[in-house]
Amino acid sequence: MIDLMLLVTIFFAIAMIGAALVAIRVKQISIAMLAAGLVSLLASVMFLFFAAPDVAMTEAAIGSGLTTFLFFFVLGRVRGDQRD
C-alpha cells in the first residue's frame, strides 16, 4: 500500500518536472502556458492523494484554471494590439 503511494508520488513528481521543463524550453508561447497549467493540475492531483482536498481545490481553481485562462486572455490582447 505504502509502496503504491510512493510509486504514484514519484510518477507525478517526474511528470511535473517534465511539464515544467516543457514550459521553459518550448518555443510556442501557447504550449508553454498549457504546460505551466499542467504542472498545477498535476500538483492538485498530488494534493488529493495526500488527503488535502481543500488545497487541491484551490490549486485547481486558481493555479490551473484562472491563471492559465488569464495568460491566454492577455496573450490574445497582446497579439490583437500588434496587429493594429
Partner: protein, 234 residues
C-alpha cells in the same frame, strides 16, 4: 558564463537546503498537540464537519481577515494602475475584434450558469465539504472570465462589483465584531445556534462568513479581470 555559474551555485544551494529538510524528516504517527486539539474539539465546539474550514474561519479567523485584506489591496492596486487609461478613452476605442468562435459562444451560454452555481455551492457548503470562500470565489471569477473571453467588449458594472465587494467585507467585519458581544470573541461563530452537526444550517456563523468571503473574493478577482479587459490599447 559567470551568470550561469551563479545560477548553478544558487540551484545547488537550494537543493542542499531541501536535501537537509528531507533527511531530517520523519512521518508522524499521531497528530501533534495543536492538531489533536483541533481534531477533538471542532465537532462539539464549532459544529463544522470540515475541520479545515473550522480552522480557517474560526480558530484562525484573524489570519483569514488578513488574507482577504491582502487580496483587496491587490485588486485596488490593479484598479488604480490600469483604471487611469480608461476614463479618457471611453467608448472611442471600440475597434472590431475578431469574432470568438461559435463553439466558445454557444458553450459559454451553457457553462457560465453552471460554473456560477458550482461556485455558490462550494462556498455555501464550505463547512461540510472541501472548499470554501476562496475556492468558490475563484470559480465564480472564472465564470466571469469565460464571459469576457466570449465577448471582450461586454460591459460589466464596476459599481455593482464594488458594491458587492464592500458590502460583503463590511458584513464580514460586522459579524466578527458581533462575536465580541454575543459570543466568546472576535469572529466567534457561535453568535448563531450551532445546529445539527452536518446539516446545511449548522456551525453557527461559518456558512454566512464563508459566503461573504466567497462573494468578496469573487468580486475582487472579477474586478481585476474586468480591469485587465478594459485597458486595451493603452
Amino acid at each position: 558564463m559567470i551568470k550561469r555559474f551563479i545560477v548553478l551555485l544558487f540551484l545547488l544551494g537550494l537543493g542542499l537546503v531541501f536535501a537537509g529538510l528531507l533527511s531530517g524528516y520523519s512521518a508522524d504517527n499521531e497528530l501533534n498537540l495543536t492538531g489533536r486539539y483541533y481534531a477533538e474539539h471542532t465537532a462539539q465546539d464549532i459544529g463544522a464537519a470540515n475541520i479545515v474550514t473550522a480552522i480557517i474561519v474560526t480558530y484562525r479567523g484573524l489570519d483569514t481577515l488578513g488574507e482577504v485584506t491582502v487580496l483587496f489591496l491587490t485588486a485596488t492596486i490593479v484598479a488604480v494602475l490600469l483604471g487611469r487609461g480608461v476614463a479618457q478613452k471611453g467608448k472611442s476605442l471600440q475597434r472590431d475584434l475578431p469574432k470568438s468562435g461559435e463553439l466558445l459562444t454557444t458553450g459559454s451560454f451553457l457553462l457560465v450558469p453552471l460554473i456560477l452555481l458550482l461556485g455558490a455551492y462550494v462556498f455555501i457548503n464550505g463547512h461540510l465539504t472541501p472548499g470554501g470562500g476562496f475556492q468558490g470565489g475563484a470559480i465564480v471569477a472564472s465564470a466571469i472570465l469565460l464571459m469576457l473571453l466570449t465577448d471582450p467588449l461586454r460591459h460589466f458594472s464596476h459599481r455593482l462589483i464594488s458594491i458587492i465587494e464592500s458590502i460583503s467585507g463590511l458584513f464580514f467585519l460586522g459579524i466578527g465584531v458581533l462575536g465580541i458581544f454575543l459570543a466568546g470573541g472576535f469572529l466567534d461563530n457561535r453568535i448563531f445556534p450551532i445546529g445539527e452537526f452536518g446539516s446545511l444550517f449548522s456551525a453557527g456563523a461559518i456558512p454566512v462568513i464563508y459566503s461573504l468571503i466567497g462573494l468578496k473574493v469573487g468580486a475582487e478577482f472579477s474586478s481585476m479581470l474586468v480591469n485587465f479587459s478594459e485597458t486595451e490599447g493603452s
